[in-house]
């Protein structure tokens, strides 16, 4: 009987929110030019829309200091497929505008150190989750949601808390986060995100065939994933960032009340205000390990 899932469409209807890294610091030196990457992405979006007319795709761009919606297939959906093509054209213009706008904000901000700047993934993830919640609450039936992160730039340890919070809220609402790394180094954040939410984490070897990876792995809906041989994660980097200096650490101090993480001993927890009366021994002799 359909009573249990009466609010869901058939198994293979999906809502895919794609978070795209548009960090100019990364794309300037990337092996795959951004234009090529973007055309792979458009192919991917088109193929999702092709698979099922109820599929819904949203693209969110994550820049260095801001995020924005770039494409939403439901805007075009009402009047047919031709509009989707037009909307996609608009999307590519929107991305260009967004990148310029983002560059201006970054320049005005002045805090970003040149080189190695991270993209604002925490913001983009939050926007994606909000969007999905809005879909959940509107209408009577909704597709099965999932998030796909296309990240190139390295993680920003200063976003650790925000990203982890997004991951846990995704886990609570049973939204898998898939991650595809288009850069050179693995992302500890996304490894954890995919691990916790049950998504797929992958770092393609050959970026020129990105579409094939996207089509083979990330286009498969949640229903058929149960039957498929999907790439397995080899290992997950569970390291956390400390709350005081936003550094990624192997070992540190954990507040016994609120579980905040610090790289150095503090007399008082900066998050919950608990006072640590006993003087802790040196970290090197008796470490409080945190995985």
């Amino acid at each position: 009987m359909t009573t249990t899932h009466s609010k869901l469409y058939a198994d293979d209807v999906s809502l895919v929110v794609v978070v795209v890294d548009t960090n100019p610091f990364f794309w300037a030196g990337a092996a795959l030019p951004f234009a090529d990457f973007f055309s792979h992405l458009i192919h991917f979006v088109n193929s999702l829309l092709l698979l099922n007319h109820l599929n819904h795709v949203v693209v969110i761009a994550a820049g260095v200091s801001s995020c924005a919606y770039v494409f939403d297939s439901s805007n075009a959906g009402a009047s047919g497929a031709a509009d989707v093509a037009a909307t996609l054209d608009k999307a590519s213009r929107k991305v260009e505008e967004f990148i310029k706008q983002d560059a201006r904000e970054t320049a005005g901000n002045g805090t970003v150190a040149a080189g190695g700047a991270a993209s604002l993934f925490s913001g983009a993830l939050s926007i994606a989750l909000c969007y999905i919640q809005r879909i959940f609450r509107s209408g009577t039936r909704h597709p099965q949601p999932r998030i796909l992160c296309l990240q190139g730039s390295p993680d920003g340890p200063e976003q650790y808390v925000a990203v982890m919070n997004s991951i846990f809220s995704a886990q609570r609402s049973m939204i898998p986060i898939d991650s595809c790394i288009v850069g050179t180094q693995d992302s500890a954040f996304l490894q954890q995100a995919s691990y916790i939410t049950g998504g797929v984490y992958m770092k393609p070897q050959e970026l020129s065939g990105l579409f094939q990876y996207l089509a083979a792995v990330f286009a498969s809906d949640l229903h058929s994933r149960a039957f498929l041989r999907l790439p397995k994660t080899l290992g997950v980097d569970f390291r956390a960032s400390c709350f005081c200096h936003k550094k990624t650490i192997d070992m540190g101090y954990v507040c016994s009340v609120c579980l905040s993480i610090f790289c150095k001993y503090h007399k008082k927890c900066s998050t919950c205000g608990s006072e640590f009366i006993r003087v802790m021994p040196d970290l090197n002799s008796m470490p409080d390990q945190r995985q």
Partner: protein, 451 residues
């Protein structure tokens, strides 16, 4: 809602049954490729996507690797479907190993889709020529009215004041499977007919379309052309006007019939005329892949077996009358009661309890749709119980065996039948046993071996 899937899949079976050359011809149109792709099971869709940019044949063994071992059956279903519709073409190399290659036309069309997105089958007539187009709600009302009128005429030709212009021979083709007429008697709805009425609109539509197309040859029309036109029609934009001049002769005849069913609305301008697709048409190919009933429900069922349907439609009243006692009819409300007698009447007509319950659930009023369960449990249970009342005796074709030479042999036979799940009854004292009919052959082989 499995009915839509079943009926729609039957339609695709019809497409698959076309001769290979004709099927290949159909794939010239990108819309048909799109519709066919969307009708596939999810796994098959994924295979297509993965093979889209592969031009060389891929060994069957390699494709099998994509799926976990325990789901090989799903894999087989997907591949069979793809081969049936000639999207995958089997290639055998010298060592007799099977490989699959994608249909070239299909591949090219889908690649084009990925690059440029979808397009429209034909350009709409500019609004400067069309005088006034109906709004979406007007169009929907029109479609519903036409469709209900058609259904009413289908089930009860005498009750309709405003008949459709379908020729009586055409009507008879549609009625063929739905009505049973004995000599000298007014035709009565058959078992299929009742089930047809309880189906969702899309399923009904597909059923009618299938009959329409399969009867095309009798009228001297090529079914291939009708299929391609129907699938193409569903990619037109809802509520836009399209000129009739762009159609071929066959299509122009077909569109008049489709207008009768409410799939399109025809309008006459000063110089040319045009057709406007309604929701029925645009939902046609989408329901191939998903049974999305976006229609708002009307029925509220209470725990005291009362049934309220917020509708003024005579068709709804007729449908409810199939399994309930309609008590009063107010301008916008039909009130009925589900009684033992009314349900027995329905069961006599070959409607099952599950169908009735599914109908009540699918057509639930928006105010009750969020409740779990949608239909009160005591009502669904009682409907099922009443159905069980009638099925106290079950007939099973079977074979009886007796006169066993030894107790030992009797027991071996019993165990053999029981292990295979075909044993119905045994009497150890008199050494007799009864086994399901379909197991007789195996039983004989077994007995012979024992000797």
């Amino acid at each position: 809602m499995p009915q839509v899937m079943v009926v729609a899949r039957n339609f695709m079976d019809m497409v698959a049954a076309l001769p290979a050359a004709k099927l290949d011809m159909l794939y010239d149109s990108a819309f048909i490729c799109e519709a066919v792709l969307r009708s596939f099971p999810p796994l098959a869709k994924k295979y297509v996507l993965q093979m889209l940019y592969v031009s060389a044949p891929v060994p069957a063994a390699a494709i099998e690797e994509w799926v976990l071992d325990e789901y090989a059956s799903k894999h087989k279903v997907a591949i069979d479907r793809l081969v049936q519709l000639r999207v995958f073409v089997e290639v055998r190399d010298r060592r007799k190993e099977v490989s699959y290659r994608m249909n070239n036309k299909f591949q090219a069309n889908m690649q084009k889709y990925l690059v440029s997105g979808g397009s429209l089958p034909r350009e709409p007539v500019p609004s400067s020529i069309t005088s006034r187009l109906p709004t979406v709600t007007e169009l929907e009302n029109y479609a519903l009215e036409q469709w209900e009128c058609f259904l009413l005429q289908l089930i009860n030709s005498s009750q309709v004041e405003k008949g459709t212009s379908f020729s009586s021979s055409m009507m008879r083709t549609f009625q063929r499977g739905l009505l049973s007429s004995r000599d000298n008697e007014a035709p009565k709805l058959s078992e299929n007919g009742f089930q047809f009425l309880l189906m969702e609109t899309n399923a009904q539509l597909w059923y009618i379309m299938r009959e329409y197309i399969s009867s095309a040859e009798e009228r001297g029309v090529d079914p291939t052309e009708l299929i391609s036109f129907l699938l193409e029609l569903s990619f037109h934009t809802l509520g836009d006007a399209y000129s009739l001049n762009t159609l071929t002769d066959v299509q122009r005849i077909a569109i008049r019939d489709l207008a009768e069913l409410g799939l399109v609305k025809l309008q006459q301008g000063r110089k040319d005329s045009w057709f406007i697709p309604t929701k029925l048409a645009t939902n046609l190919s989408s329901s191939l892949s998903d049974s999305s009933a976006s229609k708002e429900g009307i029925v509220v069922v209470e725990t005291n077996f009362r049934l309220y349907a917020y509708s003024a439609s005579r068709l709804h009243c007729e449908i409810l009358r199939l399994f309930s006692r309609v008590e009063y009819q107010l301008p916008n409300l039909i009130v009925g009661a589900i009684t033992k007698e009314s349900l027995y009447g329905a069961f006599d007509n070959g409607i099952t309890a599950e169908q009735i319950i599914a109908f009540l659930q699918q057509n639930a009023h928006p105010r009750v749709i969020d409740k779990i369960p949608i239909v009160p449990e005591n009502v669904t249970d009682q409907i099922r119980l009443w159905e069980n009342d009638r099925n106290r005796v079950e007939m099973v074709l079977s074979h009886a065996y007796e006169d066993f030479p030894s107790k030992d042999m009797f027991e071996q036979c019993c165990d053999y039948a029981r292990d295979n799940g075909f044993l119905l009854w045994e009497d150890a004292k008199k050494m007799r046993l009864i086994v399901r009919g379909e197991f007789h052959e195996e039983m004989r082989v077994f007995l012979r071996r024992q000797r």
